[in-house]
Symmetry: C2
């Protein structure tokens, strides 16, 4: 840019955001400089705090500010039911639907051998250990209804075969090929209530 | 959010960016936390520096890190020709087209009485003073080809009536109703070369 190294650096840095190209980054930078300096300063502070302060919950693998997240710390959420999701936004969608009161396990991905993502990368051993230790009686496999999500669900189900744990998948209502995090609360609640045992 | 005040605050803060709603902000936050922490830290630093360090050039009104921007500081750009644009991205588009070698004046907006934007808010007196002091012989009114852009150009032209300054508008090539910042370099160069005197 011809006029300001600070603006140049801001535009370049904004491109680390997903879906933000050169033109969008420019528009964002100019917007903040012209009309949103307090917002920009707040964002700077929030980024700095989050990038250094946010860790993974040692129990469910979700993002957390503390060793254990709020859900894992809450004894009332130890219902013997565990819901396995791929991402924090999936967990969030389920929480916002408001009906489910058990615990979670966040894979932070799905099995994808060609990308080098195996059981270890998504914490399967940690999940199995937790199921044993907490005496989980029902495991809801709420991975996305995609090829990878289904494969991940079936892998987990196979690993738990013969251990007497009820293993379920969410019911109708989730569009095939869609992403869980974008499903409305009503549909999600419906899918939760209609969950059925995995039989393949 | 159920799991992290730091993530909550990051998501809220990201919504100060134009065009970013709740879902997009969430996606951005999770992306940075999962795969882009170094980018997030760099962005935090760039925001902090830019929000406090970027000012307006005292000569052309464009964003600048210093009292005078690089273009205004360069004596070779004092060609007697001044190009008036609405925004920094317009200036940038013209600079990237690469043909124009004169000076600029950045209005940072256009006349819009219903929004309370009059001549004072876009620096018209400063522009007229500069035209007198620098002995400008040609003024290129490169405001956007929109109703407000045209009105702003005509207002400036009226204020300079009878002072023997050649006043031009950019030529064909700019789509009517379009935004200058989104025009390709070839079209812009063409429009610059074909500029014609304002006669209404
Ligand atoms: Zn947790
Ligand atoms: Zn300047």
């Amino acid at each position: 840019m011809a006029f300001s190294p600070l603006v140049d650096e801001l535009v370049d840095s904004l491109r680390c955001l997903p879906g933000v190209g050169q033109k969008t980054a420019q528009r964002m930078a100019f917007h903040l400089l012209e009309r949103g300096r307090s917002g920009g300063t707040r964002l700077s502070e929030a980024l700095s705090q989050a990038m250094t302060g946010v860790r993974r919950c040692e129990c469910c693998q979700n993002f957390s500010d503390t060793e254990l997240c709020g859900i894992c710390e809450n004894p009332q959420r130890r219902t013997g039911t565990l819901c396995v999701v791929e991402s924090p936004s999936d967990l969030l969608a389920i929480e916002q639907a408001g009906d489910y009161r058990g615990g979670y396990f966040v894979l932070m991905g799905h099995l994808s051998p060609i990308d080098g993502v195996g059981p270890e990368q998504i914490g399967i051993e940690r999940l199995l250990k937790r199921i044993r230790e907490e005496g989980v009686t029902e495991l809801i496999l709420a991975t996305n209804p995609t090829v990878e999500g289904e494969a991940t669900a079936h892998y987990i189900a196979d690993r738990l075969d013969g251990q007497g744990i009820l293993i379920t998948r969410l019911a109708h209502g989730i569009p095939v090929g869609g992403e869980l995090g974008y499903v409305d609360g009503f549909t999600l609640t419906h899918a939760f209530r209609g969950r059925k045992p995995l039989s393949d």
